[in-house]
């Protein structure tokens, strides 16, 4: 028996008299084992799907997270089912207000494409704006485009591949983007309807 082992035991006993815990929490908790939410949904007449593509930079020619502090998510909204051709649906720009809800309940607002376009070099601006999800009346074929969720308004969030690291209370939690929800409001036959759908990959 070495003195050092005995010493360690005594130190351990002294330490336990204080408020410190014997094991520090891991600095980054792993993503949850849950499977997120369905990445497409039909709710009444409204169909929507959402997808995060880790290689989104190929679509824009630049890394929007770096250049504009936004997280781009590809979204499709359409009407499906009996009555789809008669229904009047639109994404009212004043009520649409999409947001991304991360798995821990943190919410990110979407920025209008024209605002994101101003954050990038001029030669990319037009592409960013034209690829943004168009608001207005929904045609029978629906609409597809990108929503740009604002990472810049959260100093405690950092994008790392397909996860967002959220630092709070001295810990950093890794949140898988495909465990998030995209929510928005759609106006259908003059009635506003909240909609949410999971984010696929």
């Amino acid at each position: 028996m070495s003195r050092s082992i005995l010493g360690a035991a005594v130190v351990s006993c002294v330490a336990c008299a204080g408020p410190l815990r014997t094991e520090a929490p891991p600095s980054v908790l792993p993503p949850s084992a849950a499977h997120g939410f369905p990445a497409q949904k039909l709710d009444g007449l409204v169909f929507a799907s959402a997808r995060f593509d880790e290689h989104y930079d190929e679509a824009f020619g630049l890394d929007l997270a770096r250049a504009a502090d936004v997280l781009p998510i590809a979204v499709t909204v359409a009407l499906r089912g009996p009555g789809q051709d008669e229904a009047r649906a639109w994404l009212n720009p004043e009520r649409f207000a999409p947001e991304l809800v991360l798995a821990d309940g943190t919410t990110l607002a979407a920025l209008p494409p024209r605002v994101v376009a101003k954050r990038v070099a001029e030669r990319y601006g037009e592409r960013v704006e034209s690829k943004g999800l168009a608001t207005g009346l929904l045609s029978p074929r629906g609409t597809s485009g990108w929503l740009y969720f604002d990472l810049g308004s959260h100093t405690d969030l950092e994008l790392d591949g397909a996860t967002i690291e959220h630092s709070a209370g001295g810990r950093t939690r890794a949140l898988a983007i495909d465990e998030s929800l995209v929510t928005f409001a759609i106006t259908l036959d003059d009635r506003e309807q909240d909609f949410c759908v999971g984010v696929g990959r």
Binding site: M1, A8, S12, L29, A34, K41, E94
Partner: protein, 297 residues
């Protein structure tokens, strides 16, 4: 004393000294959190519980970690269906998109709480496998009085029901159906009621859970679906946490949509979706009996 004995003694000193302290500290956190939840101080409860989570080093700590996740589910569910505290990024007027509109204070997001509750549901499910079969007698030292009689499998049942309500609120019907189909006691209306009471499911969740039962049965067993529909509507009048669309669907189904009409067996009065007992004889609507609509007068 030989070396091996010394090592055992040292290990015993270290373990005996630190382990109870750790467990007691976590137990106190859990007790404080249950008090905060009861007082509806949900944001404080959430912070306390998340702060108390750590990598467990033994089975006792695994049990405490599991119950921490269950309490986080309770916290976010109470917020989602009652007093939300997480902010929504959506300006009430959509002002981010209408750049000229006046910015308003952000609203609170019930959807965010549903997402957070389901996040902790995932953790609780994953951690359950480590605590299933834990010696219940040891729970007294590790858990506050409010939790020490709660078997992990009962806590898991609560978690599943909370998930069912959250998925219902978010209108992920397939997920609701998957949970309903996977929990055998939910199939029977009376057993479902017993289970909800046994695992202390908050009243605010109950309309969504019974509505899940309605959707589960409506295609194949309308008389059974009727009981779930009545109970969902009845619970919704007390809690005001049910969706307007879901309420309208159930009420319309009772009035027009079902292949049956439901009558009071005592006085033949038809079921009314806004009354939960017979308007003539006060017999509970749950006891009304089906009659094929085609034969109804």
């Amino acid at each position: 004393m030989n070396g091996a004995k010394w090592m055992l003694l040292c290990a015993g000193l270290a373990g005996g000294c630190s382990a109870p302290r750790d467990h007691e500290e976590w137990r106190v956190d859990l007790e404080h959190a249950t008090t905060l939840i009861a007082r509806q101080e949900l944001e404080s409860a959430s912070k306390l519980l998340e702060g108390s989570l750590e990598e467990p080093r033994d089975d006792a700590a695994r049990l405490q970690r599991f119950h921490t996740a269950v309490l986080l589910v309770r916290t976010h569910v109470a917020a989602a269906f009652g007093a939300p505290f997480l902010p929504s990024a959506r300006p009430p007027t959509g002002a981010e998109w209408a750049l000229d509109a006046q910015p308003l204070a952000p609203a609170r997001s019930t959807v965010a709480h549903c997402a957070a509750a389901l996040h902790w549901v995932g953790r609780a499910r994953a951690w359950y496998v480590e605590v299933d079969g834990f010696d219940a007698a040891r729970g007294k030292e590790l858990l506050p009085p409010a939790l020490d009689g709660v078997a992990p499998r009962d806590a898991l049942a609560y978690v599943q029901l909370a998930a069912l309500a959250c998925y219902g609120r978010l209108r992920f019907g397939d997920r609701v159906e998957a949970i309903f189909a996977g929990m055998e006691p939910l199939a029977d209306f009376e057993r479902c009621e017993t289970l909800l009471a046994a695992v202390r499911v908050e009243e605010a969740l109950q309309p969504w859970i019974y509505a899940g039962g309605f959707e589960h049965w409506v295609a194949n067993d309308e008389p059974r679906a009727f009981k779930f529909a009545v109970r969902a509507l009845e619970a919704s009048t007390r809690t005001r946490t049910f969706g307007a669309r879901e309420h309208a669907r159930l009420a319309e189904w009772i009035t027009h949509g079902s292949e049956f009409v439901f009558r009071c067996p005592s006085c033949d009065t038809l079921a009314d979706p806004v009354l939960f007992s017979c308007s003539v004889c006060r017999r509970p609507t749950l006891e009304f009996e089906p009659e094929p609509r085609t034969l109804a007068k």
